[in-house]
Amino acid sequence: MKPKESMPKIVIYEQKCKGCELCVITCPKKNLRLGQKINKKGYHYIEIVDLEKCNSCGLCYQVCPDVAIEIWKDK
């Protein structure tokens, strides 16, 4: 999943996510939620609500125990 250019971006590694929702609780923009789909491990994984709204603050990354999130930012 290659993020679009010049926009605050977040990459979610679906197979690593365990749906613990720590990021969901933490996102200051309330911009993450648990999705409907299940990954190979059997977990519902998270998805971003509105990519535009994400400001790349990285708090979701900070709290993710499974390094399932990557944050990109304009240079």
Binding site: K9, G19, Y43, V67, E70, K73, D74
Partner: protein, 246 residues
């Protein structure tokens, strides 16, 4: 576009076997970030415990050895003494560090071994599915305290940092938590300081991390975070317990 937050080089791509929300994964990442930031990945040797973190060698991207249950401090001592310029750290649970490994913990600390100890206090034996740990709170139900931990039968939760603070060999002891962003960021700072001290030959440091174990606490993750915040920190207050350089 540039990656601002991503898997540190000191972590592999292997997926953790931890339960959702488990603090182990968090602390693994913090340690890896610190090692990256200090640029010591290629001269770091980690010692994994017997406990849920036993597979840590799969997750970290540097040299790691196993140690028998409770003996990481002795193994670390053996390594550090023969390779004093390497960065050597142990990563241990509360059973490993404070129950079976108490003697090795106290003595490595007292010798002032120039190592870093990352101590995951989840108040439970995670790996063996939920028995009482030395740090289990009074009244807490575990699979071996089905009626709640009773001080008359099983004694008190041990405050490891406070215990080790009495030893002349310890340089830096801090207690942190990973139940929210603020605490996570703090934990990283503490871990970084501990590794920096080792780099500068400043002696023994131990970072205690209060860590959630939802399945074995019988709580949801949210309840677990609250349990850390409200109950655990009451018994185990956060903060620097000792810093001889402060």
């Amino acid at each position: 576009m540039k990656k601002v937050y991503c898997k540190p080089e000191s972590m592999t791509d292997i997926e953790h076997k931890y339960c959702p929300g488990c603090g182990h994964g968090l602390v693994h990442r913090l340690v890896a970030e610190v090692i990256d930031e200090l640029g010591v990945r290629e001269r770091t040797i980690g010692i994994a415990p017997v406990g849920c973190a036993v597979f840590a060698y799969d997750y970290w991207n540097f040299d790691v050895t196993e140690a028998p249950h409770g003996r990481p401090p002795a193994v670390a001592t053996g390594i550090k003494r023969v390779l004093p310029d390497r960065i050597v750290f142990t990563y241990q649970g509360d059973g490993d560090l404070a129950a079976i490994g108490m003697a090795e913990t106290v003595h490595a600390a007292n010798r002032g071994e120039n190592i870093t100890v990352i101590f995951i206090n989840n108040a439970i034996y995670g790996m063996t599915t939920g028995q009482m740990a030395p740090t289990t709170l009074l009244g807490m139900k575990t699979t071996t305290t089905p009626f709640g931990r009773d001080k008359n039968l099983a004694g008190y939760p041990i405050k490891v940092c406070e215990l080790l603070a009495t030893l002349a060999g310890t340089a830096y002891l801090e207690r942190c938590a990973v139940n929210n962003v603020k605490n996570i960021i703090n934990t990283k700072k503490a871990i970084k300081k501990a590794f920096e001290m080792q780099k500068e030959n400043k002696g023994y440091s131990l970072i205690e991390v209060l860590s959630q174990c939802p399945p074995n606490w019988g709580l949801s993750l949210k309840e677990s975070l609250k349990f850390v915040q409200e109950d655990m920190t009451k018994q185990f207050p956060l903060g620097v317990i000792k810093d001889i350089y402060a």
